[in-house]
Subunit: 405 residues, 2 copies
């Protein structure tokens, strides 16, 4: 069993200014590839503390990934700490200086002097290219461990891990228990309800389940041995149990909608309580944004005097008006927030119009509310396109009204 | 200087199924209170590894917060590991059993036998009440350190830290070196350019600088000793150096716009290349969304034949049309993307209309493009409201056209 350690650096992580998403991402990637983490450590921008940490880890670990502290500023000390841990000096990488100068030239700029620092690597270290930034990574061997030093900027970190570090590790270590990860994206069930449902599952040896709850979805991961026939049966059993709460198999809600949409079908959106979240979200899937016929975002002011029935009529009317105006195949509408923490949704299709009013069962901040409203809105379309019941069951929401016109 | 360590436990954290938000939250809380983290460690549900980690940390740390592994299930091993580390046995806390039974009785249920495990604490440990759950915390003294054991459920963890652990720490340790953090939010300068600018700064003892680059902004943090008069001079020197690239002092771009907006001023938005990002972003600041008079999101299709001049006229016309229709005080407009990776922006005010076309100097994914476009759009308004030059300098963007009408 390999001993794999990650060292995250930086006061911004250690003092809680940012959540260490790189750590979670790397841990998940490594787990899938058979390099499950043994331990993770976070230290600040402290030259000696980091050097000590690197040395300590190098004594017991086979693989150490050090993340962050490769920037040009005074609080980026990782290269110096690595040199101290290995008891060597720093030497300038002319290759990387040339690389950085070229990058700046492309931007029509001269490289700031501060960047020279990013080319100072521990003596004997091997450079790792950073195709998207000025912070190169590097590799050192110290005591028992192979040390990989990586930049903190998530986009740069991920490219480096995927394109250079993982392939290298696979070549260096003969990993037997690398797994395939099958993903099911669900919406509407809580994690505990799902694990209750899954009581009946029996996982064969070498199989394991993982849940990743990223509001508002819960991603279910089945880790299975490479090309094992039993996974098919297991997956269909899981799919059976989750029913129409599955918004996507191996793909997100919006991606599955994009794949379900008939050719030439168009979309129109009218948002109020979702405040533009839906339209902005939709832009992330180009094949959906290309279908957009019309979009508006109204100010979400509630008429204090409007009663629930009036509001239902309102959303129905608005959905149909938009349908006429935009002549889009499908129109999606979010009505105003209800005073006591609810919202309205409308879906118009060639087969008719569905409207519902839902209430939040607990408090959410505004951003999360808009996210949930948009999710249920798109889920109505997903359900319609799959021929499922358009009004789904959502544990965190109460349905007040639902009408089909 | 206190040595403060957090140990997070659990495979779901170590394998990346969940991001360790407890760690970021605790770190921020502790930093504010003068208990800045020295180090954080994450280990899995491994009885011996956790015991070893606890013992190691207890040798060098003054305060150790252990989080997670206090549940009723077989993979919750923290109490046993703590006992092993301290070389003591486990003893049952009758007080906590009574407490748990009472909690279940309130729910009209009988306590499952599995919960008995949660009352087994290391000999000599002091119980910490958990008002919202069945996992009690506990305190032990081992070697140099005070060890605090806390439940992993975020809501339970946070209540315990706030109501019981922090007050206790403040009573136990006379914290002198608690720091204030002054924040400057900038846009338009790269981190390396900023550090070049700051070469001339001399930081007095006890001061330190931190940078946090969260696209598209760079947050600059000045950590200063409590009520130290020198920080005022230092801050104004930094403000001087950064000039109009500061989008907010101690507050974000949108918050400063909200504070700069004249009473009764209203906003109208027409988006194309920003695809609804701006309107959705604006919803996060209620005092801004309340000012919204009108908003539309057009599909971002480019007329291949339109030349740059035509497009400039287009955005100017659209900005002014919107200004008339909405009769809003300020209208913000993003025009279509140019074929070769650029975008147009328009700002209309009572003093006239500003339009500009900008080009990206490098590739961004669609989401980041929309974010940057929206940022520059709002930055135009911020600059106008501050009486600064509306057309700012942005390192990552080239200006193609700029007109004032």
């Amino acid at each position: 069993m390999l001993n794999v350690v990650m060292i995250s650096t930086g006061e911004e992580v250690l003092y809680g200014d940012i959540t260490d998403t790189n750590a979670a991402w790397l841990s998940a990637q490594f787990f899938e590839q058979g390099f499950a983490m043994t331990r993770r450590v976070t230290v600040g921008d402290d030259y000696e503390a980091l050097a000590k940490e690197i040395e300590m880890c190098s004594l017991s670990a086979d693989i150490v990934i050090v993340n962050g502290g490769l920037g040009p500023t005074s609080d980026d000390l990782t290269a110096a700490s690595a040199a101290m841990a290995a008891n060597v000096g720093l030497e300038q990488s002319d290759a990387w200086i040339a690389e950085m100068k070229a990058k700046y030239q492309q931007l029509g700029r001269v490289m700031p002097a501060a960047n020279l620092k990013q080319a100072m690597l521990p003596e004997g270290a091997e450079l790792i290219d950073n195709p998207v930034g000025t912070a190169c990574g590097f590799i050192m061997q110290l005591n028992r461990a192979w040390l990989f030093f990586t930049p903190g900027v998530p986009s740069e970190f991920k490219v480096m891990v995927k394109e250079q570090i993982l392939p290298r590790l696979q070549a260096m270590f003969n990993v037997t228990d690398s797994k395939v990860c099958h993903r099911l994206y669900t919406y509407g069930l809580s994690e505990s309800s799902i694990s209750d449902l899954f009581q009946v599952l029996t996982l064969p040896d070498g199989y394991c389940l993982g849940y990743r709850s990223s509001l508002p979805f819960i991603e279910i991961k089945l880790f299975a041995p490479q090309d094992d026939i039993r996974s098919t049966a297991l997956l269909s059993q899981m799919t059976e149990l989750l029913g129409d709460n599955i918004v996507g198999e191996g793909e997100s809600l919006l991606d599955s909608i994009a794949n379900l949409l008939p050719k030439d079908a168009t979309l129109a959106l009218s948002e109020q309580s979702s405040g533009g979240f839906a339209i902005n979200w939709l832009q992330d899937v180009s094949s959906l944004s290309a279908r957009l016929a019309q979009s508006e975002v109204m100010t979400d002011r509630v008429d204090e005097h409007a009663c629930v029935e009036e509001l239902s009529t309102l959303i129905a009317l608005r959905a149909q008006r938009l349908h006429l105006h935009s002549s889009a195949t499908y129109t999606l509408t979010t009505g105003p927030s209800l005073i006591d923490g609810g919202f309205m949704l409308g879906l118009t299709t060639p087969d008719g119009c569905w409207c519902q009013q839902l209430m939040f069962k607990r408090q959410y901040r505004n951003y999360d509310r808009r996210w949930i409203i948009s999710t249920v809105l798109f889920d109505m379309l997903r359900r319609y396109l799959q021929g499922k019941e358009v009004f789904g069951c959502y544990e965190s929401l109460d349905r007040v009204v639902s009408e089909r016109l």
